[in-house]
Each structure stands twice: as C-alpha cells, then as structure tokens.
C-alpha cells in the first residue's frame, strides 16, 4: 500500500485529465472515486456510523421506542427513526455507502491495475540509469578477471541460488536482472476484491437466505418456523421436527446455565429421517436449513402458570424416617398422602436467571386440622402448619378507589362479587419472598366477561394491583384471619426430591447460501493482507563490466529486511568471484 511509484502516477494522471466541460464532470467524479483521499474519508464515515449503531438500540421493540421517546424527547426519537438510526445497518444510506465503497474500489482498480501490470511486466535487464551503484541499495567491487569468465561465474551463482534471471549484453557490459515477487504488487487488488466478495456474499444471503426462530415445547412436533424480516411470519419448513426432551446443567460457581442440548427427531412425511442431539456450537443441517441451539425457556401458560413436568416428593415421618415417595400430578389435581389428606401443586417458584424451578408450592388438606400451604424445596423439610386462612378480598374502583365489594374466601373457594364477576382465591402465602423480605400475599383469579385473569395481591401494598386493573376494578387484601393450631399437627413432613419443568427449546433456523462466498472472500482477505504486507517486489541488477562488478537493487516494501538479504548475496558473490579470479591469476 505504501507505494510511492503509484502515488506519483496517480498525481500525474489527475493533472493531465479534465479538458472539456461535459467529460469534465465525469472525469471529476471518476477521479474523486478513484482517489485515496476519498477512500479515506468514506472509510472514516462508515466507521463512524457503524459506531453510532453500536450505541443505539438496533431494531428496538415498540415499547423500547416509547421508553426512549419519553427519555430523549418525542421529536429526537422521531428524527432518529426517520433517518433509520434504529435499523442503521439495514438502512438505505448505510448500505448505499457500502455500495459507494464497492464502486470506489472498482474504479480504483480500473484506474491503477494497468499501471501495476506495466510495473510487473517491466523486465528490462539493462538499468535505465546505466549504473546500479547509483541506486539506494547497491554494492560494487573490482575484479581483474575477464568479463566472459565472470559472467559464467555469476550465471552459475544465480543458478545455484535458484534465482531466475534475464541476461543482456550492452556494449562490453553484461547485465543480469533478477526479478522476484513482482506479482506481490497484485496483493492490494486481492484485498480489495476480497472485500467486494464478502459484500456480494452478504447480499446473496440477504436476498436468497432467511433467518428464523423455532420454539419447540418438549414433546411437540412442528412443521413451520417463524421467519424474521420483511417477509416475516410463520413459514413452512418442508418437513417436521420434534423435540423429545431438553436438558441443561447449571454451573455451580456462576449459577448460570452451562451446557444445554435438545433431543430432536426429524420427520419427513411422517417417517423418522434422523435423530439428533443438538448442542450449542454444533449446528445441524437438513435440506440446506441449519438448526442452531439458541436458548430455552420455561413453559408458562396464559394465566402465568409455570409448566411442571414432574415433581417427586419424599414423605418423612415425624422422627425423620423416610416413608416413601409421592409423584404429584402436574395438572394441579389432588392425590392422597400417607398421613391422610390430599396434596396438590399450586404453583412453581422459578429462578429467573437460570429458568429452573427452585421450589414447588403445594396445598395440603388434612381434613380435621384444615388446609395449609407450604413451599417444598430440595433438601429442606417442610411441616404442614395445620393453620388455615380466611382472606378478605376487597374490590375497588380504579378511577376513585371507591370500595365495590368485600368478601371472605378460603383457599380454592370461588364467589361472585357482582353480576358476572367471580373471584377465586387460588392460594394464600403467609411468607411470600419479595426482595429478600417476606410478605403476606395472595393469588386470585378474577373472571369477568368471559375473561379469566390472575392478580397478585400483597397485604402491605394495597395499591399494587392498580397496575393491573381488570374492567374498572382492582383488588387488595383486606384482613386475614387464621384458624387452627400449629402445635396440634403430628403427621408426616415433606421434602422435594426432584422436579423438572416443562421447557421450550428455542432453535434458530437459518438458510444462508451466501456463506461459501463470504468464506471465499475471507480466505482471499487473509491471503491478500498477508501477501501485501510480507511479500515485496524485489529487483536486482548486476552489471559485469571489465574490471568491476556493480550491483543495485530496488524493493517496494520492507526495505530493511531486503537490504540484509541483498548484502548477504553481494558479499557471497564477491567472495566467490574474487576466489575465482585469484585462482585464475595463480594459474
């Protein structure tokens, strides 16, 4: 790149052009696009805009946009949006500047390649100036030997060194010209071509490829995926894919999900084609479509219920001996427990970072000592408290906080508070963890106008449900009354043995026919960059004249390294020739 010869050519070219007016504009644009100054400014512009894109959220959701508008001001966000700053890398003007870059590279190549080719083809054995020793890198020594004899010796040395050379006789002088690495002058063009190749590959991917996402519930079979982008929506895969199971491990130190994998089955018209374990970093391809393990999530239904696949509970006698294990039905129906009574799952508690179930909240109805709710955790014994609670639920108008109704409910009970509005107490939690504190909380389901929705109520925050009003009502806890006696209970206690949630495995589904082109471009880029930095065009002239051998050399880059090599060659040749001439004289 640091090539003075080319620079001079360029400047001369710019001065001699631009004659008549019509062609003047074309030439001016041509020269502008071909000039290195323009390339520098264009590259700086692309870098700057790319950087801006890294700081602004790209393809933000409508919600985030509204949030930004409230933070930065409507007007500013509208302007940024109109200028496509929120989808900068796909904006016309960013892609336009990449197109200009490509055009500039093309024009630059047209402009300079012929000159470079001329430099490469130029192989005049006789140096224009006539004296190699006037060059920057040179060496010379006197010899008493005859020209012919010396010429043979030089020719042999060149052969021995396996250098190729051109020979010419001019007057009584014999010239040798060693031309090495002339083609390295093309490396810069390789770099430029590789960048265009990469951009073309990206374009192919954009036009002919697609990206999408496929969430698969454990056990589910799917034949469509969700395609992103302009032609987005559910699109057919052309075959079916089923998720048999999903599993992952938690890194004990960081507490984050480590390795995860899905067991998948590929089906074509009902027949099993392939069975695979899809892991992060190990994509799977079928019919040109790539599947990548992207992420996962717990299944949560419309009412906010977390999907539990299984929950096994160990039953312990009051003195700690193991009595047996129970498998709780995941649909929330009750089963009989050894101590007498019924147990059912109310909800699962979830660690939001790892999406694992940390505890299962169950309700136990022991008959005579009443219903109680407890959290079952692995390794922690839970004793039913034998206390039941009656919770007063208060309904208020959202607009003016006027009380509409007040009813008392026990767990699982459902009552009508108004015409067409019923409230069901799903569960009451005397110690519900919120930000490290324990709060008295209740979960209710309100059915109004055929719509059933969940509400979470906290005794100490009566306004909490105002964020989530249903119709024009919001709810709060009025009073909680306890009944029963915890000391009376002498039945078994319980411990969670294991639980597993019902998971979505989330797969990325892609097809990108541009990848081979991009990879070719990348390979060319690396080859080009390395050869343009580490290879050089080295030229050596050797002039054998009566009584003296003169050597001169020129190189287009890495002069220091080449100079050393040249000096090595020169002294080797000098040693060789002077020995030979001494032998000659001795004879």
């Amino acid at each position: 790149m640091n090539d003075p010869e080319r620079k001079i050519n360029r400047q001369n070219g710019a001065e001699t052009e631009t004659k008549d007016a019509g062609a003047g504009i074309v030439d001016a644009i041509w020269n502008l696009l071909a000039s290195t100054r323009f390339a520098v400014i264009l590259l700086a512009f692309i870098a700057l805009t790319a950087l801006v894109g890294a700081f602004l959220p790209q393809q933000p959701s409508q919600q985030l946009l509204r949030e930004l508008a409230s933070r930065w001001g409507e007007g500013r966000v509208a302007i940024l949006n109109a200028l496509d700053f929120f989808d900068l890398y796909h904006s016309r003007w960013f892609q336009g500047s990449l197109a200009v870059l490509c055009i500039s590279i093309f024009i630059c190549t047209f402009d300079r390649l012929p000159k470079t080719m001329r430099l490469i083809r130029k192989r005049d054995a006789v140096l224009a100036g006539g004296d190699p020793e006037r060059m920057r890198i040179h060496h010379g020594f006197d010899l008493t030997c005859k020209v012919d004899k010396t010429t043979d010796a030089v020719r042999n040395w060149i052969k021995k060194r396996s250098l190729s050379s051109k020979e010419e006789t001019r007057g009584e002088n014999r010239w040798f010209f060693i031309n090495r690495g002339a083609r390295s002058r093309l490396a810069v063009y390789v770099v430029h071509a590789s960048i265009i190749t990469v951009i073309i590959g990206a374009l192919i991917g954009n036009i002919a490829g697609f990206r999408g996402r496929l969430p698969l519930l454990e056990g589910q079979t799917e034949d469509t995926f969700f395609r992103w982008g302009k032609f987005g929506g559910w699109a057919p895969l052309g075959f079916q894919i089923r998720c048999e199971a999903f599993s992952f491990s938690i890194d004990p130190e960081t507490g984050m999900a480590g390795n995860y994998e899905s067991d998948l089955v590929i089906l074509n018209s009902g027949k099993v084609v392939d069975t695979i374990k899809l892991r992060v970093n190990h994509p799977y391809y079928y019919q040109g479509i790539g599947f990548y393990q992207s992420s996962y999530d717990l299944f949560v239904d419309k009412t906010g219920e977390v999907g539990i696949e299984s929950a096994v509970v160990t039953v312990l006698s009051p003195d700690g001996a193991e009595l047996g294990a129970l498998t709780l039905p995941e649909d929330g129906s009750a089963i009989e427990v050894p101590g007498g009574g019924l147990m059912r799952i109310i909800r699962a508690q979830v660690n939001d970072n790892t999406k694992t179930i940390t505890a299962v909240t169950v309700e136990i109805d022991t008959g005579e000592s009443g219903k109680s709710v407890m959290n079952l955790r692995p390794g922690q014994k839970a004793v039913p408290t034998a206390i039941s609670y009656a919770v007063e639920v208060v309904a208020r108008k959202y607009q003016d906080d006027v009380e509409v109704a007040r009813i008392s409910l026990s767990a699982g009970e459902e009552k009508e508070i108004q015409q067409g509005i019923t409230v069901k107490l799903a569960a009451y939690f005397p110690t519900f963890p919120v930000h490290g504190k324990e709060e008295s909380a209740a979960r209710i389901f309100v059915t109004a106008d055929e719509e059933k929705r969940q509400h979470m109520l906290f005794e100490s925050f009566p306004d909490f449900d105002k964020m989530n009003p249903q119709g024009n009502l919001y709810f709060s806890i009025g009073k909680v009354t306890q009944s029963g006696d915890s000391t009376k209970y002498d039945g078994p206690s319980y411990m969670l043995e294991k639980t597993d949630g019902l998971y979505w495995t989330i797969l990325d589904v892609n097809r990108d026919p541009g990848v081979p082109v991009v990879y070719t471009g990348c390979a060319l880029l690396i080859i080009g960059v390395f050869s343009s930095f580490f290879l050089s065009h080295r030229k050596v002239w050797i002039k054998v004249s009566p009584g003296r051998v003169s050597m001169g050399a020129a190189v287009n880059r890495n002069r220091a390294t080449f100079e050393k090599q040249f000096q090595r060659w020169a002294s080797e040749l000098e040693r060789l020739l002077s020995t030979e001439s001494r032998e000659d004289n001795d004879r």
């Binding site: 700086a44 692309i46 890294a54 960081t254 480590g258 990325d508 930095f533």
Partner: protein, 430 residues
C-alpha cells in the same frame, strides 16, 4: 490445583517485576543512564519468562482442551504478555529503548487488573469449546498488543515532531475532563446537577461495590467515599479552565497563559491522583470490602491520570527528553511496522470470529456491539494504511489516526463489555 496456586503467585511476582521495569524506563525518560535502561530490559525479560511459565502452568492445570484464554482474566494476562514480548522484540531489533516508558505502564495496567481479579479455572461452557475461538482470542491479544506498541511509537512521533505542548495540554485536558464526566454519569448521577450536589458520587455503584455479608451469590451495596467527589469536581474545573487557557494561548501566543495552563494542569493532576488514591485506600481499608473494580473503568481512570501526568512531565522536562527520542523517520517507520504486524492479525481475528459465530449462532455477522467495534478498529487502521499513501497525510495526520486506532482498540477490548451488552458477555465473567 497446586499448579493454579503457583501460577497465581508467579503472576503476582511478574506484575511486581513489570512495575520495577516501568520505573526503570520512566527514570530513563528523565535521565540518561544506560545501566537503568539495561536493568529495565533485563527485568522485562525475567518477567516474560515467569509470565510464560505462569501461562504454561495454567494450561497444564486446565488440560489441553482448555487453553488459558477463555475469559477476560486470562485474556488480559495474555494481552499483557503480548505487549511485553512484542515490545522487547522491537526494542532489541530496532534499538529504541525509550519507548518502554510508554508501553510498560499499559502492560502493567493489564496485569494489575488481572492480578486483582485472580480467578480459578472454570469448566468451559459449550459455546466456548471451539478451536476457532481459541485462535480468535490468541490473535486478538497479540494484535491488540502490537497496536499498543504502535500507539506508543505514534505518540513519541508527535512529541518528537515538535507538536506544541499546549496542543497536548489542550487535547488531554479536554479528554480527561470529558472522561471524568462520562465516568461520573456512568457511575450513577443521571444529571450533571447531581454531580455537583452529591458528595462522593465518585464511589458509585459499579466502581467499588461492597459485598453484603452472608449473601451468595454476592449482593452489593454502595459505600460512600469521603472527599473523592469534591476532588474529582475540582479536577474537572481545573482541567476545563486549563483547556480554555491553552485554547486562548494557541490563538494568540502568550508566555504567561502558557505558564498558567501548565500550573492548572499540574494542580488538576495532583487532585485527580489524590481522588484515586483516596478511593483505592478506602476501598481497601473498609471492613467487609472486597475490592471489585470494573476493569475498563479503572483502566480509563488510570489512563486519564497517566495522560495528565504525561503532559505535566512534557511541560517541565519535555525539552530534555524530546532530544533523546529517536529521529521522526524512525518513529514513523516503527509505528508503521507495528501496525503491519497487528493489522493482518486483526484480520484473522475478525475472520475467525465470523467463522465461530457462524458455527455457534448460525450467522457470521450480526452487528453485535463487539463485532461492530472490532470492524470499526479494523477500518480505522485501514484508514491509517491508506493515509500513508497520500502526500501530506502521511506523517502527523496518520500518527493521530494511529492514536485514535488505539482508543478504538481499548474500546473494543474492554469498553464494549462495560458500556454495551452483546453476545460477548462471556468476556464479562469476572
């Protein structure tokens, strides 16, 4: 396990050796003494040997499948290693000793952050089990190291090229006062007003969080550090005034203003240093405090402080050592040589990163902040290379671009992890 302990000890010793080497080289800036600079180079070589041993031990401890550059801690160690090795190579090959004073502090900063965040060997998550990734990270550390050395040469070039010290003063005081404001905003104050009102915002949130005892995973709360806030505020005011004074001086020459700017700059450097010392002291001394500093913020703060002192040094000692710098041509060439090593490696870094991304996420390029930042860095150096072909842009302007490139490298390496979130969040795991 014992191997890891040996490795941690070795790294601590290495850091102290680099510290000693840094002192040698900085001493050499002020006073020509061949003995001192020889000691610096010797310490550097000794440090590299221990450093290499430490890396080897870590690799041996983790197993062949798990090379020692899979998180930010390991990558910083490797980065520090790269800087010192590349610099010593350049020093021995081109006999330019004085650059050590510019290069070693950066290596030391990398090591300092790493050593205060020693981390055991963690099992590799699936996403990181790829040889493409290992090649990617190794070349990234070496490329960044070479860019750091290139930066040092370009900075020396600008000093040698007789760029007026008032220009350095203006640029540095503007950058430092803006940088402090940025850190301040980042640290928690959302409005400038609160910055001026609240005492000791300097401590804030993500800088020196204090672990709440008995929490696992650790939760942090904020601890206020006395005097730090007002001192930072004073620094900003002093430096902003200095910038104005330098600006006026550059428009109309005035010896008085130039001297005044120098004084303001010195005062600002002292207050900044005091603020940092107090913060570090308190963070260290407070009960139940585990020093936990975000690497990028500390690096940035360190650089701000260092550049202030650099300008002060240039002010009072500049004439002496400017004469001793190698000729401009040499510095220009060495800067170019370093970029010539770094740029091809950076190309490999981007390409291997793309191949890895394709195999892990199904797309070779996704305009993720880290990808974008590395592309920006690559383009900045492409600009540098093209500028060297244009007459008139070859020397000073290209040296300035080289320095911008360095800022871009630091941003790509550490800044993205702190300021922007993306897929490279593995690198965050300290």
């Amino acid at each position: 396990m014992t191997l890891v302990i040996i490795q941690e000890y070795l790294l601590t010793y290495t850091s102290f050796i680099y510290l000693a080497a840094t002192f040698c080289y900085i001493f050499y800036l002020g006073k020509r003494s061949e003995g001192v600079v020889f000691a610096g180079a010797a310490l550097g070589i000794l440090g590299v040997l221990l450093h290499t041993a430490a890396l080897a031990f870590r690799w041996m401890a983790a197993g062949i499948e798990h090379p020692p550059f899979t998180n930010l801690y390991e990558s910083l160690i490797f980065f520090g290693w790269g800087i010192v090795v590349f610099y010593l190579y350049m020093e021995l090959r081109y006999k330019v000793k004085i650059a050590g004073a510019f290069v070693f502090p950066i290596a030391l900063a990398a090591m300092g952050i790493a050593v205060t965040h020693q981390k055991g060997i963690m099992p590799l998550p699936d996403a990181l089990k790829s040889w493409w990734l290992h090649i990617h990270v190794v070349f990234a550390a070496i490329a960044y190291a070479a860019f750091v050395v290139a930066f040092a040469f370009s900075l020396m070039f600008l000093i040698k090229d007789r760029v007026s010290r008032a220009v350095f003063g203006l640029v540095v005081s503007v950058i430092v006062s803006l940088g402090l404001l940025l850190l301040q905003l980042r640290a928690g104050a959302t409005h400038l007003a609160t910055f001026f009102l609240r005492e000791a915002q300097f401590h804030a949130g993500r800088w020196f969080p204090v672990i709440v005892p008995g929490t696992n995973p650790p939760e942090y709360h904020l601890k206020s550090i006395p005097y730090a806030g007002p001192l930072i505020l004073t620094t900003v005011v002093l430096l902003a005034t200095a910038a104005m004074v330098f600006g006026v001086h550059l428009m109309r020459e005035s010896k008085l203003l130039e001297r005044l700017g120098g004084y303001l700059m010195t005062l600002g450097s002292v207050t900044l240093m005091a603020a940092i010392s107090i913060t570090v002291y308190y963070a260290w001394k407070m009960p139940d405090v585990k020093l936990r500093i975000e690497p990028f913020l500390l690096t940035l703060l360190g650089f701000l402080c260092l550049s202030c002192w650099g300008v002060v040094f240039l002010y009072y000692k500049g004439r002496d050592f400017t004469d001793r710098l190698p000729p401009v041509d040499t510095l220009d060439l060495l800067g170019y040589r370093s970029v010539m090593v770094a740029f091809p490696l950076m190309t490999i870094v981007i390409v291997t990163g793309a191949v890895w991304a394709q195999s892990a996420w199904g797309r070779y390029w996704g305009w993720d902040p880290k990808e974008t930042a590395s592309l920006v860095t690559w383009i900045v150096y492409a600009v540098y290379l093209h500028m060297r072909v244009v007459a008139g842009w070859k020397e000073r302007p290209s040296a300035v671009i080289n320095i911008i490139g360095f800022l871009s490298v630091i941003f790509t390496y550490l800044g993205v992890n702190v300021f922007l979130s993306g897929l490279h969040s593995y690198a965050k795991s300290f």
